[in-house]
Amino acid sequence: MDAEYFVEARGISKRFFAVQALQDIHVAVKSGDIHALVGENGAGKSTLGKIISGVIRPDSGQLIVEGRVVHYAAPRDALHDGITTITQEISLLSKQTVLDNVLLGQEYSRAGVLNRNRMIQRFNEVRELTGFDLAPDVKVNTLRMADQKKVEVMQAVARNARLIIMDEPTAMLSDEDTATFLEIVRQLKAMGRTIIYVSHFLKEVLNLADMVTIMRNGEIVRTSPTVDETPDTLITAMLGKSMAQMYPPKQFPPDDAPIALSVTGLRSSVFRGIDLEVRAGEIAGLAGLVGSGRSRLARTLFGAEEITGGKIFVSGEQVHIHSTQDAIKAGIYMLPESRKEQGLLLRQTVRHNITLPHLRDITSLFGIIRGQRELSRIDELVAALNIQPPVPSNKVNTLSGGNQQKTLFGKWLFDQPKLFIVDEPTRGIDVGAKQAIYELIVELAKQGMGILMISSEIEEILGLAHRVLVMRLGEIVAELPGDETLTEDKVMRAAFGTHEAQDVPETEAMER
């Protein structure tokens, strides 16, 4: 318990068949620290976490826990030493109560009959330790996500966990729940627990952790105190190139560029008269807090939500949009915010996903598909988007997140939209794939497409948009030029309403 380092890896290597997942890893995690692991997908963060928690056994090297060399054969061995894991998914018995979950695996019983009083007593101890005020008899699935995460933390505490490995714990949480969860992590540190924190969100990592270890291709680039790092230095180390190079230089459309989309007085159940213009070749950024109406505006323009009034012109011609079919016909395409829920047919092939909205153009009489025509265009797209592996007959669920996102782009680039709405175009993909998407968006604008881009990552808006529209409470409240005068602060002030920007807690959540 008093060892300076709770866990130490000395020369750990791990190979999965042809892939060297970890190569001679040396890292030491101080007791009581929050120690972050960052790196691209495939850098080896999760593998290292799994070795420490006993899920995977290393090929070589030593794992030292509190000064002792250990050889974990299974997670329960690690648990015995006080090591547990919290992952991005909630892994609770969702239909059971908070009490049952917190004390899962250590129920107090006599002759097989549960001793409820004893359990409540233990539950209250845990509640006091953590300070989480959750009722024991509530079913877990009635709780919000952040509270379910609390239950997982309580479970870890009830098991006397002294090292908690958190693997992307906030990936599935809303911004607000994330803020709550980060407080929980700080609290665990205050209780003297050690935490290994794996995350894609670099600002989150820098705000939270004491130390950060940066990994690339199964090796450690460096371990340093977070005070010595910035998002820029982290990305440079993760990628081997700097953040400034992430965004291609902005090429503003000429002032006389034709107008791709013009909307006047758009009304619906949420909008009371939206005016909006996007020029051909322009990337218009749509910023605002979650719930400000950004995505709903996108969905409304795309015909997925009902329009009750106003006029829409595409390339100068008025269009009437009552359904997504109408929008597609008019040349308005939308990349939805959730790749898996709204975007892709995960169990169909790349080919079938990409041509789905365009089958009318490649079918003959009686709706028979012209296979050759379909395939030749698909091959072009797969090559142009660099979808890996470049096999159109692969099912989409076998691809990585980045390649799934590229497939989703391909679906909307089968022919040329006039206005392309991209809602969270890089959500949940790694930094390398993000850069590819940025280049693609810029290239599409250069070809003369009007682009309306929604993003919660404000750097993305700052780095790509030629003009920024800020939404608040269902209205466009500010329009900012995308030149060098554009700052994060300006966007945030507009998003919150002028004077509140500094002291609203969600600012941090939104920026991450």
Binding site: N41, S46, T47, Q348
Partner: protein, 335 residues
């Protein structure tokens, strides 16, 4: 590293063993069918004769037609439990039209054909109505078609007053008992329907939409597809198939019965599952269902030939269905 990427890293290099188990999961039905077929060929002298094989194919028509249509419905994300009722209703209507029109002298010659067609049309219309009901009211297809099936069978009972509707014109029987080159019409009908639906599912726009509607209806809608219309049409197809099957049944025995085809919808769905089409929707193929239907027929036919007690047949069939569903679940955990 996300979970998904991790899975890739750990499993991709393990290709040999993974692809073998995947092959077993994907083509289990082919192996099961082949093994049973070979065993029965050795165990029984009668089994592998042209006459017996044609017999099996003929007997498979009733469930076959319905199971093929059920495949389309299931791929699109639905279930149709009213097929057995539509089967009865169409048969009853066909018998009524053939009998009553046959009594009108000037129509007597066309009465049998009119009966067939009327039965099929009624089946298709009921199917479409079913589909519209399910999609417009957004009710669970399982429960909705269970209910509409009860209603339809009840209406068949009211129509017939529980009497058998007899057709006397033998021409009416030619649909089910007619032959072309020594092969029953029924075999051409159901295998032809299998080919047609294979083509529709794999080569047409509608087919792609069916898969899309079952895989992810929201993504399909956001791709400009009218998911409700597609689902409704799949119910139209199942109504058509159940109606046709019911008409053939009536034609075979020259009898319209309100209680015909009870439970056939369940055997049809079981055949789909045995073939390996996923009950989750979005995946599947007609050839699988054809093998699933034939496998059940082989078990019945073969077990009779080698004198296995019929009681054991039910147990065996039930176990096969259970096994098929377990395989389906395994496939989905695997991906």
């Amino acid at each position: 590293m996300t979970t998904a990427d991790n899975v890739q890293v750990t499993t991709a290099p393990a290709k040999p063993s993974r692809s073998v188990s995947k092959l077993l999961l994907d083509y289990g039905i082919v192996i099961a069918f082949a093994v049973l077929f070979i065993v029965l060929s050795f165990e029984s002298d009668v089994f592998f004769t042209v006459r017996n094989q044609l017999n099996i194919l003929d007997q498979a028509q009733q469930i076959g037609l319905m199971a093929i249509a059920a495949t389309v419905v299931i791929i699109a994300g639905g279930f149709d439990l009213s097929m057995g009722a539509i089967f009865a209703m169409s048969g009853v209507v066909a018998a009524f039209v053939a009998r009553d029109l046959g009594e009108v002298e000037s129509f007597a010659a066309v009465a049998p054909y009119a009966g067939w067609i009327a039965g099929i049309i009624v089946g298709t219309l009921i199917g479409l109505l079913n589909g519209a009901l399910v999609t417009v009211l957004r009710i669970n297809t399982f429960v909705a078609t269970l209910a509409s099936g009860i209603v339809i069978r009840g209406m068949a009972l009211i129509l017939t007053q529980a009497e058998q509707i007899r057709v006397s014109d033998r021409t009416f029987q030619s649909l089910a008992r007619g032959e072309i080159g020594g092969v029953r019409n029924t075999i051409f009908i159901w295998l032809g329907f299998a080919l047609l639906m294979t083509f529709v599912l794999t080569r047409t726009r509608f087919g792609r939409y069916v898969f899309a509607a079952g895989d992810n209806p929201e993504a399909a809608r956001l791709s400009g597809i009218n998911v409700n219309l597609i689902r409704t049409l799949t119910f139209g197809i199942s109504g058509f198939a159940a109606g046709l099957s019911g008409v053939i049944f009536t034609s075979k025995f020259l009898l319209g019965q309100n209680d015909a085809g009870q439970g056939t919808e369940l055997i049809a769905i079981a055949s789909v599952v045995i073939g390996g089409t996923s009950i989750m929707g979005g995946e599947g193929a007609v050839w699988r269902t054809v093998l699933g239907v034939l496998l059940l027929r082989l078990i019945e036919n073969g077990f009779n030939l080698i004198n296995v007690d019929t009681f054991y047949q039910d147990v065996f069939q039930g176990l096969i269905i259970l096994f098929a569903v377990a395989l389906d679940a395994m496939r989905h955990r695997g991906t």
